[in-house]
C-alpha cells in the first residue's frame, strides 16, 4: 500500500475536529477552587440566589456523592478523572443576554464559529447557549412565546414565582441523586441548562436548541435540562455540545429529565462533539404517558470516555419509544453507549436502532437493556445494533440485556459486528472506485440509515457546509450525512428499508451479540451484563 493511499484511508469517517478545537482566554472569569466542598456548593447556590430547598438538595447530594462508591466492573476506565482537580464552577463575567450583540465578543465569536446564531435565524424556534457553567444567551421567537411555551434556564425558572413550584415538583424526581455517583455529583453542583414547558395541545413547528460549550480547562459542566411536554403537545429539542482539546481531564455530568404526558410527542436529538480529554458521564431519562411518543436521536462523536444510556420509561398504555443512535470512536476513545427502555404500560412498543464505527484503536461498547414489566401486556420491543470496525486494532462489543416479565410480550434482538469485507472492497474497486473511495462508500452506507436522522442542519454543520463549498474540500463521512432540507418528523426509515436491513444482518457474518468475541484478548470487566446495574426509580 502506498503512503498516499494509507493517508487517504485514514481519513475515512474521521470527524473534522478543527471546528471545535479553539480556545478563548479565561481571563477575568470567576472560577471556583478545584475539588468539592460544602463551601463550594454553598457558594454556587448563593450566587444563584436559590430557594432553600435547592441548597438543601445540593448539600444532601454532596453527602451522597462522598458516600457512594465508584461503580466498578462497569464500563471504561475513569481513573484519569480526579475530582480534586476539577473546578465545578467557572463563570464568564457576563449576564445572560437575549441579543447576541450583548454577548461578550470572544463568547459570541465562539458560538458564531459553531454556527449557532446562523442556525437560529434559519431554522430554530429558540436557542440557549451555555458557556462553561452559565447560560450566556437565551432567546425564543415571539410567536412561540405567545403560545405559552417557556424556554428558559432553570435558574430563571426558580426565580419566577409561577414556575418555581413546577421546577420543585419535577426537578430530580426522574433521575434520583442516588442513581449513581455522578448523578449525586450533578445535583450537588449543577449549573445552567434549560427549562422547557410546552403547554397542552401546542405544537412547535421548529425545534429548540441548547448548545453547551465547555471552554475552560480542567473544569466540569453540570447542566440540567428539564422538559415538560403537556398532553397533546409536540416538541423537537436539540442539544449540541463541544469543547476544545486540553491535556487535562474535563468532566461533563449533566442530567436530562423529560416528562412526556399523554398524547404528546418529544423528539430529543443530540450531537455530541466533546474533545478527547472529556469524561462524558451524562444521564438522560424520559417518562412517557399514554398514547405518546418519545424519539431519541443520538450522535456521539467526541469525548475520551463516555457513559451514556438514555432511559425511557413507557408508563402509559400504547406509548412508543424510538431510539436511533450512532457512535463513532477513534483513537484514544472508549465510548460506552446504548439505551435502556422500561415498558410498563400495555401495548407499548420500543424500537432501538444503533450503529457504531470504531477505528484507529477506538473502542465502542453498545449496551441495551429492555425491561418489560408484568403489566405490559402485548408490549413489543426490538433492538438492532450493528458495529463496524475499520481496522484490526479497534474494538466493538455488544452487550444486550432483556428482562421480560409478561407472557404476552414479544422482544427481538439483532446484532452484527463486522469489518469491511475484502470482497466488498474488491467489488467496488473492480467497478473503478479507488480503495479509499470504496471504504468511504461502505462506511457512509453503513452509517446513513441512522446518521440521516441527525439534526446536523441546525447544529454546527450549516457553518461547515458553507465553508466547504467555498473551498471545495472533499466530503468527510461521519460528519456530513444530513441533507439540507428541513427534516419532516415522519422521516422514519420505511418498512421496506427496515426489512432490507434485516436481510443484510442475516447475510453479514454475524454472531450472537450476547457473547461478543473480543478481537484482541479479553477484557473481563466488560462481561458484566447491563442488568446488574441498579435500575432507575
Amino acid at each position: 500500500m502506498s503512503e498516499t493511499t494509507e493517508r487517504k484511508r485514514s481519513e475515512v469517517a474521521d470527524v473534522d475536529r478543527s471546528l471545535y478545537d479553539f480556545v478563548m482566554s479565561e481571563e477575568g472569569y470567576e472560577r471556583y477552587a478545584d475539588g468539592l466542598t460544602p463551601d463550594i456548593v454553598r457558594a454556587i447556590s448563593e450566587k444563584k440566589d436559590e430557594p432553600a430547598w435547592m441548597l438543601e438538595m445540593r448539600l444532601k447530594a454532596l453527602d451522597v456523592f462522598h458516600e457512594m462508591r465508584m461503580a466498578d466492573n462497569w464500563g471504561p476506565d475513569t481513573s484519569g478523572l480526579d475530582m480534586d482537580h476539577i473546578s465545578t464552577y467557572v463563570s464568564p463575567k457576563t449576564k445572560q443576554a437575549r441579543d447576541w450583540d450583548d454577548v461578550p465578543e470572544d463568547i459570541k465569536t465562539t458560538f458564531e464559529r459553531l454556527g449557532i446564531p446562523e442556525a437560529e435565524r434559519e431554522s430554530l424556534a429558540g436557542v440557549g447557549a451555555q458557556y462553561d457553567s452559565e447560560i450566556v444567551y437565551h432567546n425564543m421567537r415571539e410567536e412561540v412565546a405567545e403560545q405559552g411555551v417557556i424556554y428558559t434556564t432553570i435558574e430563571d425558572a426558580l426565580h419566577d414565582p409561577q414556575w418555581e413550584p413546577v421546577v420543585h415538583q419535577y426537578f430530580g424526581k426522574l433521575i434520583p441523586m442516588r442513581d449513581h455517583k455522578f448523578a449525586a455529583l450533578h445535583y450537588a453542583v449543577w449549573s445552567g441548562g434549560s427549562f422547557v414547558y410546552v403547554p397542552e395541545g401546542v405544537t412547535l413547528s421548529y425545534p429548540l436548541q441548547s448548545y453547551f460549550r465547555l471552554n475552560a480547562s480542567g473544569a466540569g459542566q453540570f447542566e440540567h435540562t428539564l422538559i415538560i411536554v403537556e398532553p397533546g403537545a409536540d416538541l423537537h429539542f436539540i442539544e449540541g455540545c463541544s469543547a476544545p482539546k486540553y491535556y487535562e481531564a474535563n468532566l461533563h455530568a449533566g442530567a436530562v429529565e423529560l416528562y412526556v404526558k399523554d398524547h404528546a410527542r418529544l423528539r430529543y436529538s443530540t450531537i455530541e462533539n466533546w474533545s478527547k480529554n472529556m469524561y462524558n458521564l451524562n444521564t438522560k431519562r424520559a417518562t412517557v404517558g399514554a398514547d405518546s411518543r418519545m424519539e431519541w436521536v443520538s450522535g456521539s462523536f467526541g469525548s475520551h470516555v463516555s457513559y451514556l444510556y438514555p432511559t425511557t420509561i413507557l408508563q402509559g398504555a400504547r406509548s412508543t419509544c424510538e431510539f436511533t443512535g450512532i457512535t463513532f470512536a477513534g483513537a484514544t476513545q472508549d465510548l460506552d453507549t446504548g439505551c435502556k427502555v422500561i415498558l410498563n404500560g400495555a401495548d407499548t412498543t420500543a424500537s432501538v436502532d444503533t450503529k457504531s464505527i470504531s477505528k484507529d484503536g477506538g473502542v465502542n461498547t453498545f449496551r441495551s437493556s429492555v425491561v418489560i414489566g408484568a403489566k405490559a401486556e402485548r408490549a413489543r420491543a426490538t433492538v438492532s445494533c450493528s458495529s463496524l470496525m475499520l481496522d484490526d486494532i479497534s474494538r466493538s462489543d455488544t452487550i444486550p440485556a432483556m428482562d421480560v416479565r409478561c407472557g404476552s410480550a414479544s422482544v427481538g434482538h439483532e446484532a452484527t459486528i463486522g469489518r469491511i469485507s475484502d470482497d466488498t472492497i474488491l467489488y467496488l474497486m473492480s467497478r473503478g472506485c479507488s480503495e479509499a473511495e470504496a471504504r468511504t462508500m461502505v462506511v457512509n452506507g453503513f452509517a446513513n440509515p441512522v446518521s440521516k436522522e441527525l439534526p446536523l442542519e441546525y447544529a454546527v454543520i450549516s457553518r461547515r457546509r458553507r465553508f466547504r463549498t467555498s473551498t471545495c474540500r472533499p466530503r468527510r463521512p461521519g460528519t456530513t450525512c444530513a441533507s439540507t432540507r428541513f427534516p419532516s418528523r415522519s422521516r422514519r426509515p420505511s418498512p421496506k428499508a427496515r426489512s432490507s436491513r434485516a436481510c443484510r444482518a442475516s447475510s453479514t457474518r454475524s454472531r450472537p451479540a450476547s457473547a461478543p468475541k473480543p478481537p484482541h484478548g479479553s477484557w473481563p470487566r466488560r462481561v458484566t451484563p447491563a442488568t446488574s446495574r441498579s435500575r432507575p426509580a
Binding site: S421, D422, D423, T424, L426, Y427, L428, M429, S430, R431, G432, C433, S434, E435, A438, M441, V442, N444, G445, F446, A447, N448, P449, S499, S500, R501, C503, R504, S507
Partner: protein, 254 residues
C-alpha cells in the same frame, strides 16, 4: 497496433498457501468471444479474479498484458478504468449505497462516459427496459436483498453502462431460470453488438452460448489450460464431459 487485447503469458498464481494456476497462457483479441470451461475447482474463477486483480491471489510467475500495458501489478480499480469488467458469480451486497447513485458514481469517474444527469437517466432507463428491470430497483441499496437472478441482471446493467473492452462473465448464467437466462443472454448480445467488446465466458452451461458466436473455447483442469479449440470443442465436452482432459493431466503429472 496489435489487435490483441489481453495476453496472459505463463501465469502462475494462487493464495498464500496454495498454488492454483500453473503456467497459464491465453490471448484474446478485440471483439472476440472466448469460453472457459472445466470441472468444478479447476481454477476458472481464480483466473477471472486474477485478471481483475483480486489481491486475495498472488501472482508468482508470468504476466498479464491488457491493451498494450503490463497490468500484472495494477490495482483492480486501475484495471477497471483501463476497460476490464468482471461479472461476479455472487455479487456482494453493499448496504446503504443506493444503486442509482452508485451507477452514476462509477460512470462519472470515467472521462469517456461522463454525461449529463438527464442523458445518464435516459441511458439507465433504456438498459433497464432491455433487462426487464423495474425502475424501483434503482432506489434500492446495491444488491441488498436481491435474488440471485436480480443480482446478475444488475451486473449486466453495469456491464452495459461501463462499456468495457473486455468482460469476464464468471458463471453469470448459474442459478438463473429460463426467462432470466434469456434476458441475461440478450444483455450479453447487446454488449457484443453495441460495444464490440471482447468476452471471456466462464460457464458450465452451453445454453448461454447459444446466442453467441464463440471464437475460441478453452479447457482448464487442475489449474492448467489443457486444451483449446474452436466452438465445436464445447459440443464435444457437452457430450463427453471432462474425463478425457482430466485423465490427460493426471497422466502427465505422473
Amino acid at each position: 497496433m496489435s489487435d490483441t487485447l489481453l495476453t496472459i503469458d505463463g501465469l502462475s498464481a494462487g493464495t498464500e498457501d496454495k498454488p492454483i494456476l500453473h503456467n497459464v497462457s491465453l490471448s484474446v483479441s478485440s471483439g472476440e468471444t472466448h469460453v472457459l470451461m472445466g470441472p468444478n475447482g479447476a481454477g476458472k474463477s481464480t483466473l477471472g479474479h486474477v485478471i481483475m486483480g483480486d489481491p486475495a491471489y498472488q501472482v508468482s510467475g508470468g504476466s498479464i498484458y491488457f491493451d498494450g500495458q503490463d497490468i500484472t501489478e495494477l490495482a483492480p480499480d486501475k484495471r477497471s478504468l483501463a476497460g476490464i469488467f468482471l461479472s461476479y458469480q455472487a455479487p456482494v451486497e453493499v448496504p446503504g449505497v443506493p444503486l442509482y447513485s452508485f451507477l452514476r458514481t462509477i460512470c462519472q469517474m470515467r472521462p469517456e462516459l461522463k454525461t449529463t444527469a438527464r442523458k445518464f437517466r435516459q441511458r439507465v432507463n433504456e438498459i433497464c427496459e432491455q433487462l426487464s428491470l423495474p425502475d424501483s430497483f434503482l432506489t434500492r441499496e446495491l444488491n441488498v436483498g436481491f435474488s440471485g437472478g436480480e443480482k446478475k441482471k444488475i451486473e449486466m446493467l453495469q456491464l452495459l453502462l461501463l462499456r468495457p473492452k473486455l468482460a469476464i462473465l464468471d458463471e453469470t448464467d448459474s442459478g438463473l431460470d429460463v426467462d432470466a437466462l434469456s434476458i441475461v443472454s440478450r444483455g450479453i448480445e447487446a454488449y457484443r453488438k453495441d460495444c464490440d467488446g471482447a468476452l471471456i465466458v466462464i460457464t458450465h452451461n452451453t445454453r448461454i452460448l447459444e446466442r453467441l458466436d464463440v471464437d475460441r473455447a478453452h479447457v482448464m483442469v487442475h489449474g492448467h489450460l489443457v486444451a483449446d479449440g474452436p466452438a465445436s470443442l464445447i459440443d464435444e465436452i457437452d457430450a463427453e464431459g471432462f474425463g478425457r482432459f482430466e485423465a490427460a493431466i493426471e497422466g502427465g503429472a505422473q
